[in-house]
Amino acid sequence: MAGIAALVSKVVEGHHHDRDMLIQVLLDLQSGLGWLPREALVEVSRQLRVPVTRVYQVASYYKAFSFAPKGRHTIKVCLGTACHVRGAGRVVEKMETDLGIKRTETTPDLKYTLETVNCVGCCALGPMVMIDGKYHGQISSDKVSPLLAEHE
């Protein structure tokens, strides 16, 4: 608890207590904590003097924020148009089968979180998969298992 309040203070100060920076503050907390626990959101509301309704509205509106801890590895399968027409749908399905979870879920052992994104802007190399921020291009369903094996 104290740790979270201190972190929020640091981040909020970094943005000069400027309410306009609400989204930036939440982004910093998301990357610092890996998710947005309730205490953090309440602290942000208190320290930035922004209604908690608005903090939650913003946090639940954007895809970058999560309300639950994520796995050690975050897998993002791009579903942009270029990836879609090149078979990204089959890639996600294979991921779901291999990991035993649906998109947006985290494996019970907290190893993997599976997400889909609506275009990472790497369209020439679709289907595109990002694991822990690293780009992997031209992924087809048969390349899924070896790729996952590289991220034990």
């Binding site: 209604p51 908690v52 309704t53 608005r54 939650y56 509205q57 639940s60 509106y61 309300f67």
Partner: protein, 211 residues
């Protein structure tokens, strides 16, 4: 800026003050334009689109939301036309599967459905979803924010997964004595699912995926 602006609404000359919206000018002149998300105490929101009217300027006609469109000299407004009526009818049909209570509408929504000949069951079977009894007009949220300043109810999510939820920590302190939003909710959801101490749909329900 003290001048008045003259415009025409449904063939009638209407005088308005600069800065007024078409909806305000019409209502002041006794011309009714239906709306679901509009309230004179709150900032125009433009979500229900029921107040859509035809606006003609320099020979060009377009559809505008009268609750947000500012009056202009020489503007010609038609509050009813086949195009406007079709919009209102379809909008009601589209929102009905989400807004009905046990398969029927109530209040203003019901009156509008009858007036515009909307088949409120048109998309029900196809969608096979449970009604949330909510049009997401945001009257409750905006009333709580703008009029009361309590911030006890808010929007969460986006797209087709947008919801209205109570924040129990706040709501349990302020709602019992206020109940302002209970009265303005067009579907009666809030009054039926909350009483000031109990809240049927909260931020926790949303986070747990129960909505």
């Amino acid at each position: 800026m003290g001048d008045t602006i003259t415009l025409k609404i449904d063939g009638q000359e209407v005088r308005a003050r600069p800065g007024m919206t078409v909806l305000e000018a019409a209502r002041e002149a006794g011309i009714e334009i239906p709306a679901l998300c509009h309230h004179e105490k709150m900032t125009p929101y433009g979500a229900c689109r029921i107040c859509s009217v035809e606006a003609e300027m320099d020979g060009k006609t377009k559809i505008v939301a009268s609750c947000g469109y500012p009056v202009e000299p020489g503007l010609v407004i038609r509050t009813r036309s086949p195009r406007v009526d079709r919009i209102r009818k379809t909008v009601i049909e589209l929102v009905s599967p989400q807004a009905n209570t046990d398969g029927d509408l109530g209040g203003d929504l019901k009156k509008l459905a009858d007036e515009y000949g909307a088949d409120i069951h048109r998309f029900e079977a196809r969608l096979q979803s449970k009604s949330r009894r909510c049009t997401l007009c945001g009257l409750c949220v905006r009333y709580c924010d703008e009029v009361v300043g309590a911030h006890a109810i808010g929007f969460v999510g986006r797209g087709i997964d947008r919801h209205v939820v109570f924040f129990p920590d706040k709501a349990s302190k302020v709602c019992a004595s206020c109940q302002g939003c209970f009265k303005i909710c067009p579907t009666g959801k809030i009054g039926a699912e909350a009483d000031g101490t109990y809240f049927g749909f909260t931020i926790d329900d949303f986070l747990a995926g129960r909505l």
